[in-house]
C-alpha cells in the first residue's frame, strides 16, 4: 500500500471514493486526491514517456513543474496529472507522444 496511513504530524482524512479509468481499467481513488496521487496509490509507476527516446518516466516533482506526468485526461493532451484534482468518471490515458490536438 503506497498511501501514508500514519504520520507523526499530519492526519489524512479520506474523502469519498471516486471511480475513474486509467488506460481503460477501472480504478478508485478518494476525493481530495490528485490524479497522480490516486494512480500512485493504485501502483501505477510509469507516468509518461520521453517523446524522443520513449523511455518511461516516473512520478517526479509532483508540483506541476517537471512535465514527467503528462497524460491525456478526458481527451485533452498534456495534462499535468500531479496538479489536477481527481473527479468521478475521469478518463485518464497514458500519453506516448507530444500530445495530439486532433
Amino acid at each position: 500500500m503506497l498511501r501514508i496511513e500514519e504520520h507523526p504530524i499530519l492526519t489524512f482524512e479520506k474523502g469519498k471514493l471516486v471511480t475513474f479509468t486509467f488506460d481503460g481499467k477501472e480504478l478508485q481513488g478518494y476525493e481530495g486526491d490528485t490524479i497522480a496521487s490516486a494512480l500512485h496509490a493504485a501502483g501505477v509507476k510509469v507516468m509518461g514517456h520521453h517523446h524522443v527516446s520513449g523511455r518511461p518516466r516516473g512520478f517526479y516533482c509532483a508540483i506541476g513543474n517537471c512535465g514527467s506526468c503528462l497524460m491525456i485526461v478526458n481527451g485533452e493532451p498534456n495534462i499535468r496529472v500531479c496538479v489536477v484534482p481527481l473527479e468521478e468518471g475521469m478518463v485518464v490515458e497514458t500519453q506516448n507522444n507530444r500530445g495530439d490536438l486532433l
Binding site: 493532451p77 498534456n78 507530444r98 500530445g99 495530439d100 490536438l101 486532433l102
Partner: protein, 384 residues
C-alpha cells in the same frame, strides 16, 4: 583582443540584415568589415520575430525580393557552409480572406505572383480546409496558398550568416554600442563606440528598431518609427499544421515549428510608437480568442511564454535601401516594417551591389530615402 581602430565598412546592428550585408560584402572581397552590436547577435527584432518567409505579396518588387530570398534560403546551409541547419520548413503560407473585398484583392495578387513565376494559387474555404484540416472554414471566404513559402529558425539562420562572415574576416563586436557617428564636411569619418573610436568612410545603418536613433547620430532625421509587436509560443504537440496561417484583416499569423510548438503573433493597430518591448495581458487575451476561433483545436494548448520585438516602420511599409545623399558614406538598410528577416538574403546581395556600384539584380532604386521627399511612396497592403 583589442577592437580595430579603422575599418573600411562599419555595419551598425548584429541582426539578420547586418550579418547578411557583411557576408555579401566580404564575399565580394571587401576587407576590414566591422559589425557593431550593442547586445548580442539576434538580440533585437531578428531573434524575436516569427521568421516566416512568403512570396505572396501585393507589390511586384516585394514578390521579387522574397523570391530571391526563398531561393537563397532553400540552399542556405550549403551556400553558407553551415554546420547546423537553418530549419527552412517549406510548409507554405495559407493566407485567408475574411471578406469579399479582400478575396478579390487576393485574386489580383495571385495573377501578379503567377506572372512572376511564384507558384501561388487561390483556394475556396473548402480547399483551404484540406490544407489546414483543423480550421473553421466558415470564418473565411477564400484563401491563397503557396507551397514554397515557409519559416526558418531565426537564430540558426543568423548564426549561419555570422559564422560565414567571420570566416571571411568580418569582425563582429558584441556588447559594443555606437554612441556617436563622426561626420565632417558632410562625410562619414568614423564612429564612437563604447569600445573606442573606429575610423571609417562608410557606415551602414542596419539597426532595426533603433535605426531612427542611429540616423540622428549622423544628423539625419529618418522617416521611421518603431512599434512593439507581440508574439507567444505554446508547448510542443504532435505536428498537425504544415503552413503558416495568416489573416491580414485580423492582423495575425500562426505557425507550428518543426519542434511542435505553435508560434503566433498579432499586430495592434493602436500600438504607440516607441521602443518598448514589454508584454501585455491584452495581447494574450486577443491572440487566444482569435486563434481559437480560427483554429478551434488550439484551445487545448498550454502557453509557454510571450515576448515582444520592434517593427521599424515606414509610411509605406517598405524598407529604405540606399545611401543618404547629404551625408557621404552613410547607407541605409532599415524600415522593413515587419519583413526584414525574410528579405535579408536579398538585402545582403542588393546593398552590396549598390555599395560596390554594380548593376542591381533587382531594381530597388525606388526604395531610396528620397521617395519620401518626392512623394513617391510604394504602398504594400499585404502586411501584418
Amino acid at each position: 583582443m583589442s577592437n580595430p581602430k579603422t575599418a573600411n565598412v562599419v555595419i551598425i546592428g548584429g541582426g539578420i540584415s547586418g550579418v547578411a550585408i557583411a557576408w555579401n560584402l566580404a564575399k565580394k572581397g571587401v576587407k576590414d568589415i566591422v559589425i557593431l552590436e550593442k547586445k548580442t547577435v539576434c538580440s533585437g527584432a531578428t531573434g524575436r520575430c516569427g521568421a516566416g518567409i512568403r512570396m505572396q505579396w501585393g507589390a511586384e518588387q516585394n514578390c521579387l525580393l522574397a523570391k530571391m530570398s526563398v531561393e537563397f534560403f532553400e540552399n542556405a546551409n550549403e551556400i553558407l557552409e553551415y554546420d547546423r541547419d537553418v530549419e527552412f520548413d517549406q510548409g507554405g503560407y495559407l493566407i485567408v480572406a475574411g471578406n469579399e473585398k479582400e478575396n478579390e484583392q487576393f485574386k489580383k495578387n495571385i495573377a501578379l505572383q503567377n506572372s512572376l513565376g511564384i507558384p501561388s494559387k487561390h483556394l475556396t474555404p473548402q480547399e483551404a480546409k484540406e490544407i489546414v484540416p483543423h480550421m473553421d472554414e466558415t470564418q473565411i471566404v477564400g484563401a491563397t496558398f503557396c507551397q514554397k513559402d515557409g519559416h526558418l529558425n531565426p537564430f540558426n539562420t543568423t548564426e549561419a550568416f555570422a559564422k560565414a562572415a567571420e570566416r571571411l574576416g568580418v569582425k563582429i563586436l558584441k556588447k559594443t554600442k555606437v554612441t556617436g557617428i563622426d561626420v565632417k564636411n558632410d562625410k562619414i569619418v568614423g564612429v564612437e563606440t563604447t569600445g573606442g573610436y573606429i575610423s571609417t568612410p562608410l557606415v551602414i545603418n542596419a539597426a532595426g528598431g533603433w535605426a531612427q536613433e542611429v540616423g540622428k547620430m549622423a544628423g539625419v532625421d529618418l522617416p521611421l518609427y518603431s512599434e512593439r509587436h507581440q508574439i507567444l509560443v505554446t508547448e510542443p504537440v504532435e505536428l498537425i499544421q504544415d503552413p503558416m496561417y495568416m489573416a491580414f484583416s485580423l492582423n495575425i499569423y500562426i505557425q507550428q515549428t518543426p519542434h511542435g510548438s505553435f508560434i503566433m503573433g498579432r499586430s495592434n493597430p493602436e500600438e504607440p510608437r516607441d521602443l518598448r518591448q514589454t508584454s501585455s495581458w491584452q495581447f494574450l487575451h486577443e491572440m487566444i480568442n482569435t486563434c481559437t476561433t480560427l483554429l478551434p483545436p488550439l484551445r487545448k494548448l498550454n502557453l509557454v511564454r510571450q515576448w515582444a520585438g520592434l517593427y521599424n516602420m515606414t509610411e509605406d511599409a517598405q524598407p529604405i535601401y540606399g545611401k543618404v545623399d547629404n551625408v557621404e558614406g552613410f547607407w541605409l538598410a532599415c524600415g522593413y516594417s515587419g519583413h526584414g528577416f525574410m528579405l535579408a538574403p536579398a538585402t545582403g546581395i542588393l546593398l552590396t551591389e549598390m555599395i560596390l556600384g554594380e548593376p542591381l539584380s533587382i531594381d530597388i532604386t525606388n526604395l531610396d530615402l528620397g521617395r519620401f521627399e518626392r512623394g513617391e511612396l510604394c504602398f504594400e497592403t499585404s502586411v501584418v
